[in-house]
């Protein structure tokens, strides 16, 4: 039990210590991005990594979370800490009909269908101007003053966002860890391995996939809500872009599909590279996402974490062998 808790405790300690040691706010921004993408990679991984259902439509769920958070704040005055979870719930709710339709298709056809759904959602956001403000989107200028345990929250600093992102990322990782040991997680792996056989042994494959999609959508929606609050800006091109779906796929895949730490490793690796390029050149940071994706599929289909875990196991076996001998 202690061995399983140790990495979590170490992680929380490291997260708490990080703001004290980073030299400037750019690094804190990178850390926030890594945490947000850890959450998003984890969200995609639940469905893509465990159940083997490759969704190209997660941008839609992210966008719904972002829009709901934004609209609730601007039109109903609801603060983001209510808006973000509600954004997640909205994404989960919308995922149900999407799932029921798209899961009738298998393999690449499922992927194409989710792509089409994401495009439809984007079109709606562009054209339903009374609700979404069309292509102009929304901008938050100031946050209301808030006290947290008696302390005034400084919205101009990145610290409160860092804390929120850390909490969300931990939530994403914890959800994955829970899934890994749950019956639902076992069902998903069965579906990934052979869907017909899974049905034959009594697994309700549609229910398992729809439930997981909803959980995945909830996390993606939380990520979208966080994005809206952090960047204070939402428009269809920013939060419903197909590249967002692709980034989630790539982070989970490069990190390691179907593992707890995979999306974290993928986010650390890709986001660091990506944000550094973005800082220096403004454009083209996704060059490396594409490149690493291709390299990973060709040379390391189990992902960085998958490979590292195997090497560690081999090393441990060898060391233990020495000790025994």
């Amino acid at each position: 039990m202690t061995r399983r808790l140790a990495p979590w405790v170490a992680g929380v300690v490291a997260l708490a210590a990080l703001p004290a040691i980073v030299p400037n706010s750019f690094y804190l921004h990178v850390a926030i991005m890594i945490l947000m993408w850890t959450l998003l990679g984890s969200a995609w991984n639940l469905l893509g990594g465990f159940a083997g259902q490759v969704s190209f439509g997660h941008a839609a769920l992210f966008g719904i979370g972002a829009y709901v958070t934004m609209i609730l704040f601007l039109k109903a005055g609801l603060a983001p800490w209510w808006g973000i979870p509600l954004g997640g719930l909205a994404a989960a709710l919308v995922s149900l009909p999407i799932g029921l339709v798209c899961f009738r298709l298998r393999g690449p056809y499922f992927s194409l269908a989710t792509l089409a759904v994401a495009e439809i959602v984007k079109l709606v956001a562009l054209n339903w101007e009374t609700v979404t403000n069309g292509s102009v989107g929304f901008l938050i200028t100031t946050f209301p003053p808030v006290r947290f345990f008696g302390l005034a929250v400084d919205w101009e600093s990145k610290l409160p966002f860092y804390a929120l992102a850390a909490l969300l990322a931990l939530g994403g990782l914890a959800a994955t860890a829970w899934l890994q040991t749950s019956r639902l997680g076992a069902y998903l792996i069965a579906i990934r391995e052979n869907e017909e056989a899974a049905e034959a042994v009594g697994i309700d494959t549609v229910r398992a996939k729809v439930l997981t999609f909803a959980l995945s959508a909830f996390l993606a929606g939380l990520g979208g809500g966080f994005y809206a609050a952090y960047f204070r800006y939402v428009d269809p091109d920013a939060v419903l872009n197909i590249n967002l779906s692709m980034e989630m796929v790539f982070i989970a895949m490069v990190g390691g599909l179907g593992t707890v730490a995979g999306p974290l490793v993928g986010a650390v690796f890709l986001t660091t590279v990506g944000e550094s390029v973005r800082e220096r050149f403004q454009v083209g940071h996704l060059i490396f996402y594409g490149l690493f994706m291709m390299l990973a599929i060709r040379y390391m289909p189990e992902g960085i974490w998958g490979r590292a875990r195997r090497l560690l196991a081999a090393l441990r076996a060898r060391v233990l062998g020495h000790v025994a001998a």
Partner: protein
Amino acid sequence: METFAQSLTSGLLTGALYAMIGIGLTVVFGVMRIINLAHGEMVMLGMFGAFWGQSLWKLDPFLSLLLWAPVMFVGGMLVYRFLLRKIIPGGELNTLLYTAGLSLLIANLALFAWTGDYRTINLSYGQEPVRPFGISIAVPLAIAFVVALAITGALWLFLSRTDLGRAIRATSQNREAALLMGVDVERVATVTFGLGTALAGAAGVLLAPSLYLYPTVGELLIVKCFVVVVLGGLGSVPGAIAGGLLLGVVESLGAVYVSSTYKDGIGFVLFLGVLLYRPSGLFGVGK
């Protein structure tokens, strides 16, 4: 009535170019079972080829087809030979994700090299639309339409009359049987991928004078392209032609009679409907 004829015509013109992009995607799918997500980027490269040909070397955009189609053909064969071939045994989803990576790589390299600015190509001719029967037709689109028809016709002859073309169709229908009949399936696959890339590039060159050019235009095109090939049945060339024309007409009529803002949505809804209820395509010619 006049509006109807007008929008039907422009729908057919655009549809022919959709069809041409779709054919490239569908032959590749037919032979290799690859859904090539980077296909839209191939079109984008063709568009920029036409642009740079004109601005650097004063090449007529339409004539530059003679340069870029062969270049894209060879480029496509190299991509297949050195990149894709080793991935295919890993399964359909791996290949799909690999081409997604390729798509992002090409689009962002282009963004890096050429910036995200919108560009246009100005022709020295054809500024005024021609007006047969009172229907206004943009000259660049009309030229593109005629050339696209010629290329599609030539492709048809190639596929039906030459040994290599027959080998491609045979492999598409039944890979195992083609292998047993002594078809060099690897060579067929390489040529097919080159052909698909060349068709995408050629369509890009032809579209360039009629559209805005920017590095991520492929995103928009690939999604339309999926609609086209799924409507027609994945793997079917006649299906892609019909699907392309249908999408062009539906979008064009939809813009007039339904809603101009949701015209792209009509295509996607059609797409989902076909995927769910007629997975072999509207015309029942796909597999």
